[in-house]
Amino acid sequence: MQAASYFEIEPSRGWASLKLRTVWAYRELLYFLIWRDVKVRYKQTALGAAWAVLQPVLTMVVFSVFFGQLGKIPSDGLPYPIFAYTALLPWQLFAHTLTESGNSLVSNQELITKVYFPRLVIPLSSVLAGLVDFSIAFSVLLGMMYYYGIAPSMAVLTLPLFIMLACATALAVGLWLAALNVQYRDVRYTIPFLTQFWLFATPIAYPASLVPDPYRALYGLNPMVGVVEGFRWALLGQTDALNPSVFVSVLVVGVLLTGGLFYFRRMESTFADVV
């Protein structure tokens, strides 16, 4: 047996510290929860992990037919399917993980009311588990790039940063929603509307260049604009310079995420009593 370590339990007061070190101490649990989510997601489905590919691919087909062919929406000189798919990848990562993490505390209430661990592990695991689906869907993009003869430039090395930005955005919003969801189940019904609205506010079916310049800075307040533009820039290398609005996106995510973490920590002590 290890040496007995001292601990103290007291009511927390005011704004608690983030205690990220405790989260680190529970990294094995984080790993197992991610593993559980991944393992269970496509159990008892006929198509299995193919769903991870089918969802973005089918959406791409619908977009290409309605927006590309019929709507004649410009695509920055790129073939419309790859233009849309490159944006759909981070979008689905974001939308999916946002939904999962927003509902994560409620769907894991059995755990919350029975065992102690830093609750942050739960939404975090939902977001990270989304990366597995993303990787599978990403392989399709590589095939498409080969088919259309698009070779990425050195800018592709920055791609992980944009993936991180997408995850951070999902986590930032997900933390707020998850903590609110514990008390207000309205959140569950709000999330689908939120993602739908957000989809149109993000340049997925259309290029960001359609947005008139004076509004670009405002538009950049949506962090997913930075993510999607970053993806196209890093993978398809269309424009030479990245639109500076991406820094606005980073800033917005930073603020949202910090606020979300503190709010989550503050509410954490009541989760087990309220959920």
Partner: protein
């Protein structure tokens, strides 16, 4: 006394009523907030301090203080809602105390409910790892005890089958096995012995004994008072969130048992006119007591007597009593009347005070609460009066006649019957 493992000081927990299990909608709390601040405006204008409207609160725990020594097994008893589970939840950090402080040494493992976090789609093997991680085990720890867990749960052949296909017995065995192998210095256990079949229950108790012999500190919440007396060195009794008594388990349990049930073992009616009955007969007194030692409590082995005193008001009456004994499930266990009583049955009774005693042998009733309905009858058939719940008493469980089995002993009665076993022929029957 050895070193302290856990010190609980003045711990209180308050719940706001209606908050739990009722999910406010956003609209409600917004309108509430607006309504409240509007209501506070007049007070503010008058310069009064704004007071929050009094909210209905519920103290699940109130200033509970106790200590647990290292290696001690502490039993926590009390009725439902006494705060036992809340206490364990605070100690395991699932919920925070509202006031007070807990200090402790060592890792705290909790076994509040077996199978927490089991995923039905995952196999037994996968669930062992997942559940272990949820309970706070390291991967290496799980790997080291993996075979032991599987052995204990007796599920070798089903290890790679999703647990949703397990029988409920297998499921529970696996869940308990994982939790029981948690190597924490302090273990919190809540009612887990109430699972599984008889053989597995014995195994669980055995495991609990092992755990306590390893010098680990255990806090054990149970309604199973026999198990508490058997396993614990000390017990605390919680009532309505307060600590009522702590001490040796035998003493605490018997005090708890004696006072916790609203038994009605004696009733007396001094005023004849107000006493239950009719113009023919009035009740005077009723009581139930063990035959031998009137001060002792009644357990399943104890012979006891029910006494009824009544005033006969009509000369020459032919009276008899008739009683019905119901158990806590509302089952009529028996009905009895003094039909074989040799002196007064069938004879006219003068005006005066009579006493009937009904003797119930030991080893007849099962444990539980019983209530008595008394009928006053005239001329073998005319009901003069019926008195519901004239006596309410508990027949306690007894360790002696259980032969080590701690589970529920079903049935309305628990007689000791003669059994015999004989060997008819030795050797394999081919």
């Amino acid at each position: 006394m050895s070193d302290v493992a856990l010190r609980v000081e003045q711990v209180s927990k308050v719940y706001r009523l209606g908050r739990r299990n009722r999910h406010q909608t956003l609209r409600e709390s917004l309108t509430d907030a607006v309504a409240q601040s509007v209501r506070r405006i007049p007070a503010r204008l008058k310069g009064l301090p704004s007071s929050r409207p009094a909210q209905e609160t519920f103290w699940a725990l109130k200033e509970v203080t106790f200590g647990v020594a290292q290696g001690e097994v502490l039993g926590i008893i009390g009725r439902n809602g006494a705060g036992k589970s809340t206490l364990l939840k605070i100690l395991s950090r699932i919920t925070e105390p509202t006031q007070g402080r807990v200090q402790g040494y060592g890792r705290v493992g909790s076994l509040l409910e077996v199978g927490t976090g089991f995923h039905p789609e995952l196999t037994g093997r996968e669930n062992i790892y997942l559940n272990g991680a949820i309970l706070g085990m390291r991967k290496s720890e799980i790997r080291n005890t993996f075979d032991e867990i599987v052995d204990f749960a007796e599920i070798e052949t089903f290890l790679d089958m999703p647990v949703k296909r397990y029988s409920s017995g297998m499921y529970v065995r696996l869940a308990f096995a994982v939790a029981a192998h948690l190597e924490s210095e302090i273990l919190l256990v809540d009612e887990v012995l109430a699972v599984g079949d008889a053989a597995f229950q014995k195994k669980c108790l055995g495991k609990m004994e092992d755990v306590t012999n390893q010098g680990r500190t255990v806090l054990f919440v149970s309604h199973n008072l026999l198990a508490v007396q058997d396993l614990c060195n000390r017990a605390i009794w919680l009532q309505e969130g307060r600590l009522v008594e702590e001490g040796p388990p035998g003493r605490v349990v018997s005090h708890y048992v004696q006072t916790s049930f609203s038994a009605l073992t004696e009733q007396r009616w001094e005023d004849v006119n107000a006493a239950p009955g009719s113009d023919d007969v009035r009740l005077r007194r009723a009581c139930v007591r063990p035959t031998e030692d009137a001060a002792a409590s009644i357990d399943v082995c104890t012979p006891f007597a029910m006494e009824f005193e009544y005033l006969n008001l009509k000369p020459g009456a032919y009276l008899n009593l008739s009683l019905q004994l119901y158990n806590e499930q509302g089952i009529l266990v028996f009905e009895s009347a003094p039909v074989h009583e040799p002196v007064w049955q069938g004879n006219p009774m003068p005006v005066g005070l009579f006493k009937d005693v009904c003797h119930v042998p030991g080893n007849l009733l099962n444990d539980g609460m019983y209530r008595v309905v008394l009928h006053l009858v005239k001329d073998q058939g005319t009901l003069l009066h019926k008195e519901d719940d004239i006596l309410i008493f508990e027949v306690h469980d007894a360790v002696e006649n259980r032969a080590g089995w701690h589970g529920a002993w079903d049935g309305a009665v628990r007689p000791i019957l003669a059994w015999s076993t004989e060997l008819i022929q030795e050797g394999k029957m081919c």
